[in-house]
């Protein structure tokens, strides 16, 4: 029973992390209907930028954190500007292929710089963040993951539901010509969505790095695990991303704990195919309103 509860807690915490990683992904999808296959690389870039700032530049943690956020924000902006902006209005297949290309490019570049080794951050998080309920122990990283997950969920939820900028973003995703006709600055919306997505990805990358250590392959494969998460949650639902993340997290830890550790990494994809067969738009996704 204790084992079960520990798995439950681990699963939920990892789930929050997946959800957090998926949020940036959903952000881009919501604004521009682009599936970003380079999301794992965005996670990795955030994690490595932070690593470089903390260990090589030896900045204090807080300063490094803020610089990383700024850096990833700018990076997302530049990526949009250089690679995606020229493709506005091109067929979706080309844009998706472009992100596949970007993923390979970024991953190759990161591997060239840092190689495939495992790096670790120095201990950053204070001990008081840890939760202990008798047998169940939640280490500080997991607590911070859950905390960040909830904070960003609220922030994004409010942003998309109530802020004008958020509504403009959704309008662009919905009907681009109409948004243009009303004067929505479509290019700015795209740039902003990439910048925010890269920033959130950077934060998730750092937390993931704190838990498992930083490794290019590991982080980029988590970027692909975003897909089962968002499919479960529905491609365009921010809260769905968190719920999908938790379900996938639980599924993984339970499979790893009770069935077989090697099955752990594929179980999300098996779940993904099963869900797609039953509910093609995910559990919380919008059903496409198609009027001809």
């Amino acid at each position: 029973m204790d084992f079960f509860i520990q798995l439950l807690v681990n699963g939920i915490s990892i789930g929050f992390l997946y959800g957090l990683s998926a949020m940036g992904f959903v952000m881009i999808y919501k604004a521009s209907s682009v599936l970003n296959f380079a999301h794992g690389e965005l996670l990795a870039i955030g994690a490595f930028l932070f690593l470089a700032l903390v260990t090589w530049a030896e900045l204090p943690v807080a300063a490094a954190f803020i610089l990383t956020l700024a850096g990833t924000f700018v990076f997302g902006f530049i990526v949009e500007r250089l690679f995606l902006r020229p493709l506005i209005g091109e067929p979706l297949i080309e844009i998706i292929m472009l992100t596949v290309g970007l993923a390979a490019m970024f991953k190759g570049a990161l591997l060239l710089i840092w190689g495939g080794n495992l790096y670790t951050y120095p201990d950053l998080l204070p001990e008081f963040l840890a939760w202990n309920w008798g047998v169940v122990q939640v280490p500080p990283v997991y607590v911070s993951a859950i905390f960040m997950g909830i904070v960003f969920l609220l922030l994004f939820g409010l942003f998309f539901k109530y802020s004008s900028q958020g509504i403009y973003m959704r309008s662009v995703a919905d009907n681009q010509p109409a948004a243009l006709s009303l004067g929505v600055h479509v290019r700015r919306v795209f740039a902003l969505s990439w910048a925010i997505a890269a920033l959130v990805a950077g934060i998730s990358g750092i937390i993931l790095g704190l838990i498992n250590g930083i490794n290019v392959h590991e982080l980029s494969s988590i970027g692909l695990k975003v897909f089962p998460v968002v499919i479960l949650g529905g491609l365009d639902s921010i809260s769905g991303a968190i719920i999908g993340g938790i379900i996938i997290g639980l599924l993984e830890t339970m499979t790893g704990g009770y069935l077989s550790p090697s099955l752990r990494d594929v179980i999300p994809y098996i779940a993904l195919v099963a869900i797609l067969l039953v509910r093609p738009y995910g559990l919380f996704g919008l059903v496409e309103i198609e009027r001809v």
């Binding site: 919905d174 009907n175 109409a178 948004a179 006709s181 929505v184």
Partner: protein
């Protein structure tokens, strides 16, 4: 007409994808606070004219290659839509085009994009006053609303931007006659009460000429006729081709061969 001219189009040509010439020297002027109606058959270039004004040609790979469009005395052709809309020119696209996954109220809020950061509560009330149907639907996703409601929504959405010049592309498309009448009444009211200048593109020439002050007839990318709305309503050619009546006022029969000859004179 001795009003101030708000929009002046001088002899423009529009080319899509560098090869397809759609407009061949279109000139028209839009005086302030008037409703100008642009008539013509399918493919005559009415929608393209509107898009040339609002800057929406660019995403469709079209370009104004000659002539000029002057708005309030400054050139605006080939500017990006973000810039043009911020000067108060808002186009309502053909075929409605709501944001399907946004609620009615969120749809209306997108209309504030050109005035980002300014309060919009009063504008919402204004739109709801013009279109009371929308009030009880405000929390519904636009994708689930009827055609008439959507047409009102998109006009209302454009109103949120405080347009000085409103470009309406076929607001009657696919709507029931009663709804069309109501929408045209409201367009007239908007013109009178908000002092909005309106360019109205229509197939339904009868309705359009009832509310418009002045009209242009387009054919094959050119303006072939213009005149006061009342004058156009009486013109035998317009009667025949757009109002569906024979030159004498009797409903027209298909065998009327003379139609072909007279049509040719225009081209």
């Amino acid at each position: 007409m001795n009003d101030k001219i708000l929009l002046q189009i001088n002899n423009i040509g529009v080319v899509y994808s560098d090869v397809i010439q759609v407009l061949k020297g279109v000139s028209l002027s839009v005086p302030e606070n008037r409703i100008i109606s642009l008539l013509g058959s399918n493919g005559a270039g009415k929608s393209t004219t509107l898009k040339a004004i609002s800057g929406l040609l660019k995403p469709e790979n079209g370009k104004v290659t000659e002539g000029s469009i002057l708005y309030d005395g400054t050139e605006i052709h080939n500017l990006p839509p973000e810039t043009i809309t911020r000067q108060g020119i808002i186009q309502v696209l053909e075929g409605r085009q709501p944001f399907k996954y946004l609620t009615i109220e969120e749809n209306l809020r997108v209309g504030t994009a050109t005035r980002f950061g300014k309060p919009y509560k009063e504008d919402l009330d204004l739109v709801y006053a013009y279109f009371p149907v929308l009030v009880k639907r405000r929390k519904t996703l636009a994708g689930y609303c009827s055609g008439g409601e959507l047409q009102m929504l998109v006009i209302g959405r454009a109103l949120m931007a405080h347009p000085k010049l409103l470009l309406l592309d076929e607001p009657s498309l696919g709507l029931a006659p009663m709804v069309v009448q109501e929408i045209f009444r409201i367009i007239r009211r908007i013109n009178e009460e908000q002092e909005t200048t309106i360019v109205l593109v229509e197939q339904n020439a009868n309705m359009a000429l009832q509310i418009a002050h002045y009209g242009y007839v387009m054919e094959n990318g050119k303006i072939v006729m213009e005149g006061d709305a009342a004058e156009l309503r009486e013109n035998p050619d317009v009667k025949e081709f757009y109002l569906g009546m024979g030159a004498t006022g009797i409903a027209k029969s298909y065998q009327d061969v003379k139609a072909y000859k007279r049509r040719k004179r225009w081209l």
